[in-house]
């Protein structure tokens, strides 16, 4: 299943900062119709260096279902929206996420003599499990596994499963966290 540009925008709008207007304009647009927005920021937003999106893409390839296509664009747009803005909170989150990503990369270097972005998805998945990111409770001041769970794994799950494509994979047209309008709830599963 392919992620549309609308998915990536919406995933970011649903979570990012100062995007209330964007969220609404998307909500009112029909599926498939192009929406105006900041998709052109995909790749690198303010204060987001290339390292972070690349790392997120590598992890997404390991933890997203095989059927998801267009992972690169989803993740880059999401990261740009999430971390590209100004503000104390975004800065805190950006720093914490970068720090966690750096630790993960160091671990990859120690165990595989390579950066996470150069590892194949299976190896990344195994590395994450070896650390315990699959079973860890997310906690910003917790262990490396807990921070990895919070800042990387759950960040990516949030991006996917609040998007219409993630929703559709599961069988829900308008997933929680996505402003998909007040119509689909009436229609039932076949719609």
């Amino acid at each position: 299943m392919e992620l549309t540009r609308r998915d990536t925008l919406v995933a970011a709008a649903g979570t990012g900062v100062s995007v209330g207007g964007v969220a609404l304009s998307i909500a009112h647009s029909e599926p498939g119709r192009e929406v105006s927005g900041s998709a052109s920021t995909a790749g690198a937003g303010k204060g987001v260096d290339e390292g972070l999106p690349a790392m997120f893409v590598a992890v997404a390839r390991a933890i997203y279902p095989d059927r998801v296509e267009g992972i690169g664009e989803l993740v880059r747009t999401y990261v740009a929206e999430q971390f590209g803005a100004d503000g104390e909170k975004v800065e805190f989150r950006r720093t914490a996420t970068r720090e966690t990503a750096r630790e993960l990369d160091e671990l990859a270097a120690t165990r595989h003599d390579a950066s996470v972005v150069d590892l194949d998805p299976e190896t990344v998945s195994t590395l994450l499990r070896e650390v315990g990111a699959d079973v860890a409770e997310p906690d910003p001041s917790g262990t490396f596994a807990q921070r990895l769970r919070l800042y990387v794994v759950n960040e990516l799950h949030y991006a996917l499963y609040t998007s219409p494509t993630g929703g559709k994979l599961v069988g829900i047209e308008n997933p929680i966290g996505h402003p998909g309008g007040a119509r689909s709830y009436k229609r039932g599963p076949s719609a």
Binding site: T15, R67, G87, Y161, G171, A182, Y185
Partner: protein
């Protein structure tokens, strides 16, 4: 730590500590006509009404002013499991410390929010009128107390409240009390699962109908139509769900002032002891005192009695306006009853975060049996006395079972394995909820715990609460009706919430009860305290009994009525 400090930075009010640094002027207003304490729906509706009539109004609010643009981020906090739901609106910490020494624990900070907009920031937005019988529980059933006013007295104010809040509703509820005009917005259509329920209910002779929502089915009052984020409780990022920040802003546009981060410490009376002279309030910049001709305490059903108790003085040794001794007593909440399970077909849950159908058939007649073409609900086999059961409000949920994102964030799997779990988990969940009300009992109360203090050094509220037998019986009855409906549908029932598992619905009622007799009640039918002439209490704390309808429309109606009285006085 201040309970609001978790929010510093994202709110326009800026940081805490010495000096707020946000440039806001928190000094008292000179020559204020009215000082309103608390900016939930009760306080802001009154402030807006009186500002609109040209009166000089100042609102003192304990919590911060939240930035609307921070809502998407609050939604994320609500969905992601590393945050507690209470942190979405910055609840917790020393500011919000409390005790719960009763038989049952009461989770107070899950049950309120502090900030401009009050608890409606995180509410669900279900708005119903009480039934005529709710005002006459003593006369009709021989239990509880009568209200000193009737449904008819409140009816015009209910209609106004519906317009103020922007209620989406229809006239298809045959059990509702009489209405004078349609709701201002069309009701939300029934959901896919409502239709599944409706068929089974019809076979059993149970009538389902639409439900009123303080939520825009179309854009209204400058706010967006519902866009289906599905996170209504605790935050609506679009503003489609009503919250009282709307009326705070309206009051300000009419010249009123709303001062945030200004918790009132106590009210002081004049030399005669019969009039409040000033409210003493703390701010990040130090303590101030606000004078006014009229004072309105609208701090919710826990903080309203607490503020009166904290305002004890030589003239009012048991607390302000407490010559009856009733301040803090008769605390009531509604209790949740639920039953759910799975069907072997998809039910389309979790698209939206609100309810679109209910049945109020068992509200006035909770024990009645029903008959339909395919059977019926058996009548209650209790002792059959009037008042043996309380009213029951039954809901058909649109959010049964886990949401995919919620499950994904908590799962130990990922990739295809996770997806296949999510697919099998999502699908056939179906459930009913419901509310039942408690009767007033003096021993259920809000008292001061003098052994523990909050960030201002004031004794914290102690919630002494438990659940009585009538409420337990009514919960059992609600479960029985729910079970019968779900069985008729062929649901594989996997859970139920009854007397043992139940929890409160976060509706704080009864703690400054309304009545005609100053010896047994705190306020009169216009919400003015019997003891203190210029003091009005606007809150569900004035409800003599609880009914089983969500309280806020009634709070709003009473507030609008009180505002009309105050306008005449000023």
């Amino acid at each position: 730590m201040s309970g609001s400090s978790g929010d510093a930075g994202s709110d326009s009010a800026g940081g805490a500590g010495n000096g707020s640094g946000d440039g806001a002027d928190r000094r008292p207003s000179k020559g204020a006509d009215v000082c309103v304490i608390g900016s939930g729906p009760a306080g802001t509706l009154i402030a807006n009404e009186l500002a609109g009539k040209g009166h000089d109004v100042v609102v003192l609010e304990a919590g911060p002013r939240f930035d609307f643009d921070s809502r998407p981020e609050r939604m994320e906090r609500a969905i992601r499991p590393s945050h507690s739901n209470d942190s979405v609106w910055g609840m917790g910490g020393e500011r919000d410390a409390f005790s719960a020494s009763g038989e049952r624990y009461y989770p107070l900070n899950a049950a309120r929010a502090k900030g401009v907009g009050g608890s409606t920031l995180r509410w669900q937005g279900m708005v119903m009128r009480l039934h005529e019988a709710d005002f006459e529980r003593r006369t009709r059933d021989g239990v509880g107390a009568d209200w000193p006013l009737s449904y008819g007295d409140l009816q015009p104010y209910y209609a106004r409240a519906e317009r103020e809040l922007g209620v989406a509703g229809a006239a298809d509820n045959p059990f509702a009390p009489p209405r004078e005009q349609p709701a201002p917005l069309p009701a939300f259509d029934p959901s896919y699962s409502d239709a599944i329920f409706a068929e089974a209910c019809e076979r059993l002779g149970v009538t389902t109908h639409s439900v009123s929502n303080a939520r825009n089915s179309e854009s209204y009052d400058g706010r967006s139509a519902c866009v289906g984020y599905g996170t209504c409780q605790p935050v609506c990022p679009s503003g489609a769900k009503y919250d009282a920040s709307t009326h705070a802003e309206k009051a300000e546009r009419k010249g009123g002032r709303v001062i945030d981060r200004a918790p009132v410490q106590r009210l002081e009376t004049d030399a005669s002891g019969t009039r409040v002279e000033r409210a003493i309030y703390a701010t990040p910049d130090g303590e101030h005192s606000q004078k006014a001709r009229q004072f309105v305490v609208a701090c919710g059903g826990v903080e309203t009695p607490r503020l009166l108790l904290l305002s004890e003085s030589e003239d009012h040794p048991e607390g302000l306006a407490n010559s009856s001794g009733a301040v803090g007593k008769y605390f009531m909440d509604h209790l949740f009853a639920g039953t759910g399970g799975t069907l072997d077909r998809e039910t389309g849950q979790n698209h939206i975060g609100f309810i679109t159908s209910e049945t109020h058939q068992f509200y006035d007649e909770p024990g009645q049996g029903t008959n339909g073409a395919g059977g019926g609900i058996p009548a209650w086999e209790g002792n059959g006395r009037k008042g043996d059961l309380g009213p029951i409000k039954l809901e058909f949920l649109n959010y049964a079972g886990p949401s995919p994102v919620g499950s994904a964030l908590g799962s130990e799997q990922w990739g295809d394995e996770l997806l296949s779990s999510l697919r099998s988990e999502y699908g056939g969940h179906i459930a009913m909820g419901g509310l039942v009300g408690q009767l007033p009992r003096a021993e259920h109360r809000i008292a001061l715990d003098r052994s523990t203090t909050d960030d201002q050094g004031n004794p914290v509220p102690d919630i002494q609460w438990s659940i009585d037998d009538r409420t337990k019986r009514t919960l059992e009855r609600a479960n029985g009706i729910q079970r019968a409906i779900l069985e008729e549908l062929g649901v594989d029932i996997s859970w139920s919430v009854g007397p043992a598992e139940t929890g409160p619905a976060y509706h704080h009622m009864g703690t400054t009860r309304m009545g005609t007799d100053p010896a047994t009640s705190v306020v009169d039918a216009r919400l003015r305290t019997h003891d203190v002439a210029n003091l009005t209490l606007a809150s569900s704390s004035v409800f003599p009994t609880s009914g089983a309808m969500n309280p806020t429309l009634t709070i709003a109606a009473l507030a609008l009525k009180a505002a009309a009285h105050l306008d005449r006085d000023l």
